[in-house]
Amino acid sequence: MYTVTLTKGVPDFSEGAVSFDEDGHLERGKTPTVMNPNDRFALEAALQTKVRHGGTAAVMSMGPPGYGEVLQEAMSSVYADELFLLSDREMAAADTWATSITLATGIERIAETREQPDLVFAGFKTADGETGHTGPQTCWCLDWPILTHVIALDIDETERTIRVKRLVEGDIEEIETVEAPLPAMIVTDPEFEPTYRKAEHRLTFKDLREETTERAESYEEHLTTWDHAELNLDPDYIGLDGSPTIVSGVDPIPKAPSEREATVVDPGDEAGMESVLDELLPYTNRAAAGGD
């Protein structure tokens, strides 16, 4: 199996890391870049595939040269073998359409220079754009089948098919199983969980972890950077020039006023803690908790 996982560096929106100016605009320079959180599930699916079926796991991203560290993080997460960065001034400021064209071309380039990828994995959506367009559009460019909201997957190597469980409309009562021929694109749902029920798989996992810890330290040696010329892409169809999306304006969402009252109790304040207990008591059920 040769898999490619798409990932993106996004602003770290976690508390303490993210920085906004007075108007509520993101201060990009002051906010660190991290791997898009939803990509974690795509990486887990790629890792499960590598552990179960062997082969090569590649990770691809489009972005500035500084994305190398995001790819390094992805490498140690998925125990990846190869990293691809599509990076070029001409690619900058791309919308999801131009990005999709670029990524699809990168995947085709892998097929030409390495081997034909069997699976491309993508996360559900990015933390900054939140569109959820890039994965499906990339797949449209490739003209492959796409399976979205995937929570579990299984591959039949001899039949060259993939069978997945999909979480339809986020309703756990509605899980459908669908099958597609390879190659295919998989968009993982945040509910995706890898399963390793065979000792052999877990042992492989341990081996991979050891190998990759070393490899990730010198990730540059496994990083291939392609610019638009190497991908044979017309600058008019990528980057800002190739982006039909027009952002007319950005309005910050006003902060909702807090309606709850908070009482701060010091843990050393015994009477205060007693009153907290009294408040909580109606919500406990000692009998039901017994033996737990």
Binding site: P37, E191, R197, A199, R209, G291
Partner: protein
């Protein structure tokens, strides 16, 4: 944020609702089990010895350990022996063992007879050195995790390897015949040899019907504090390649049969107490209070010197091999090794378990290799039992001298008479006479006699106390240290609680059936609400009823309540429950 998908390090933020991910395709066909030539369950010294020996003989070996790390579930007093007469010692199997993992060699061994603050000390180094090639103080987390790394390297060469955080929960059978194991985390696995080295509470031994949790008199319970002491050398006036062991018996534990120990580690002390479980139950004693009685005795004052920092509180059940060591520790493809087979020799003052587990593990592995080379691996179990006999292991675990002596010595009228004679004026006169001739210390140093000490109050309580009263000197100095409360001890332990999935179920909550657990459980106590077991008054329809309730969160997985209370007792799932850092 790293996409840590490690199956051994599952994050705790799993969705609350159960989503049916199931197997997408029909991968887990019943006929399609994974197979290994050998599966070793547990990576303590017994499992490690078995796995290393199997791997060295080219047997494809899978080792399954339920802790987050080998040693994280394991507790021992902390003294490991290498016997001259043993066919295998741990450094035979792991040559760098002592240098890499041992704390200190034990070069001096003392027995303190205590009555109040009067103490009479015997040097029993000769007994300690009898049949001893070397003996080291060890801490199990450090030791077992080191062993596990070697074991993984060795077994990986054979196509197997070691996995942590996998709990084997039972035996896989085919038409009544044992063919493999079932696990919480993995699909069933078949094997030609299954080595149950899963400890004193072996679920495999119980599944096979070879062990039970019925009789308290077959078990000891130990509790231990690992005490931080950076300057062991100065406090004990020893060099870094010397170490001391001290045993304590007499009246400092009231009438509970058992004793205390102190071993010097590199920069800490292992201080603990071990008691007959039936005696703990009969006296309704609180194990942590008995430990505190030792910790606060003036005798320890000179070493602790007013400072006390407890790194870890732990507890463990200990099988009494004289009563429970299986003469035929096998069933079909299953062999039991170490505590799982009751192979824990507690005879006289010296306690030996880990060394026997090592020997047994290696012998079981050899038996399989021999049986396989003769074309019938099903004979491994019988060959293993025979090797235990031929190599003299079984004779140490179940000494004939004890069996002969105990017939008389443990019958109550005889026992009571012995106890009264020792305590009488005549008995005391004999003791003084013996002492003048230096005979008493020699008697205590006799390996022959130590093998036949009966399990009565006489050797544990009466005799040491009388010795101390008659011959002892008052201890000078003070010991004003304050051991932590039970709540603090529990608070300092590390747990990964399997929320909503308690591993012990209380089957009968009446005080008659399960009340003994309230005191005997090392993390429970009367009038303490933060432990596992507590007694509660429940009001129903105007009536008041006293009931026992259970909260498994503070559980240290010792297994005491499986014996003294009416429970359904299992280990927590892989990686869950308590995690010992010292062990």
């Amino acid at each position: 944020m790293a996409a840590n998908t490690d199956p051994e390090e599952k994050t705790a933020d799993a969705p609350a609702e159960a989503i049916d991910r199931g197997e997408v395709a029909s991968v887990a066909d019943g006929d399609d089990y994974e197979h290994y030539e050998a599966v070793v369950v547990g990576c303590g010294p017994g499992g490690a010895a078995a796995a290393a020996t199997l791997a060295r003989n080219g047997v494809e070996t899978l080792v399954l350990e339920r802790g987050v790390d080998a040693g994280s579930k394991n507790v021992s007093g902390g003294l490991l022996y290498a016997e001259e007469s043993a066919p295998y010692t741990i450094d035979d199997l792991f040559p760098e063992f002592r240098e890499a993992t041992a704390e200190r060699p034990i070069t001096d061994y003392y027995l303190h007879n205590v009555a109040g603050n009067r103490v009479k000390t015997f040097d029993i180094t000769d007994l300690h050195e009898h049949d001893t090639e070397w003996s080291d103080a060890v801490l199990r987390r450090r030791m077992d995790s080191w062993l596990a790394e070697r074991v993984h390297e060795m077994t990986r060469e054979t196509g197997g390897g070691l996995l942590t955080e996998v709990r084997v929960n039972g035996l896989l059978r085919d038409g009544g015949e044992i063919v493999g194991v079932t696990c919480d985390e993995l699909d069933p696995i078949t094997a030609d040899l299954i080595v149950a080295a899963d400890g004193v509470n072996s679920e495999l031994a119980r599944d096979a019907g070879l062990m039970d949790w019925e009789r308290p008199e077959e078990w000891f319970q130990g509790v231990k504090a690992v005490v931080d002491l950076p300057d062991v050398d100065d406090r004990f006036d020893i060099s870094e390649d010397e170490g001391e062991a001290h045993l304590f018996s007499g009246d400092l534990f009231s009438d509970v049969r058992g004793g205390g120990f102190l071993y010097t580690n590199e920069e800490s002390l292992s201080i603990g107490t071990v008691f007959h479980l039936d005696s703990l139950v009969a006296e309704e004693a609180e194990p942590h209070e008995l430990l505190d009685a030792l910790l606060t005795h003036p005798l320890l004052g000179e070493w602790l010197d007013g400072e006390y920092h407890e790194r870890e509180y732990s507890a463990k059940l200990v099988p009494d091999s004289k009563k429970v060591a299986l003469r035929e520790p096998h069933a079909g493809r299953l062999v039991l090794v170490g505590d799982a087979g009751g192979q824990m020799q507690a005879q006289g003052p010296i306690i030996k378990g880990m060394n026997h587990a090592v020997t047994a593990g290696a012998l079981a592995a050899e038996a399989f290799v021999e049986a396989r080379s003769r074309g019938d691996s099903t004979l491994a179990g019988e060959r293993y039992a025979k090797r235990l006999r031929d190599e003299g292991v079984m004779a140490k675990l179940r000494p004939r001298r004890y069996e002969a002596a105990s017939v008389l010595g443990e019958r109550s009228p005889v026992a009571n008479l012995t106890d009264r004679v020792v305590d009488s004026r005549a008995g005391r006169t004999v003791l003084r006479a013996l002492s003048r001739a230096n005979g008493l210390e020699r008697l205590y140093g006799s390996p022959y006699l130590s093998m036949m000490v009966p399990d009565t109050a006489t050797p544990y309580v009466t005799l040491p106390a009388v010795i101390a009263e008659e011959l002892g000197e008052p201890v000078e100095g003070e010991n004003d240290i304050e051991p932590p409360s039970l709540a603090d001890r529990i608070g300092e332990l590390t747990y990964d609680t399997d929320v909503g999935n308690p591993h012990i179920e209380l089957l009968d909550s009446s005080v008659e059936a399960s009340g003994a657990a309230v005191t005997a459980c090392p993390v429970s106590a009367r009038d303490f609400g933060g432990g596992c077991y507590r007694e509660e008054v429940v009001k129903t329809n105007g009536d008041e009823e006293r009931l026992v309730s259970l909260d498994t969160q503070p559980c240290v997985e010792c297994g005491t309540c499986a014996i003294v209370a009416d429970t359904r007792w299992e280990h927590p799932r892989g990686g869950k429950g308590v995690e010992f850092r010292e062990g």
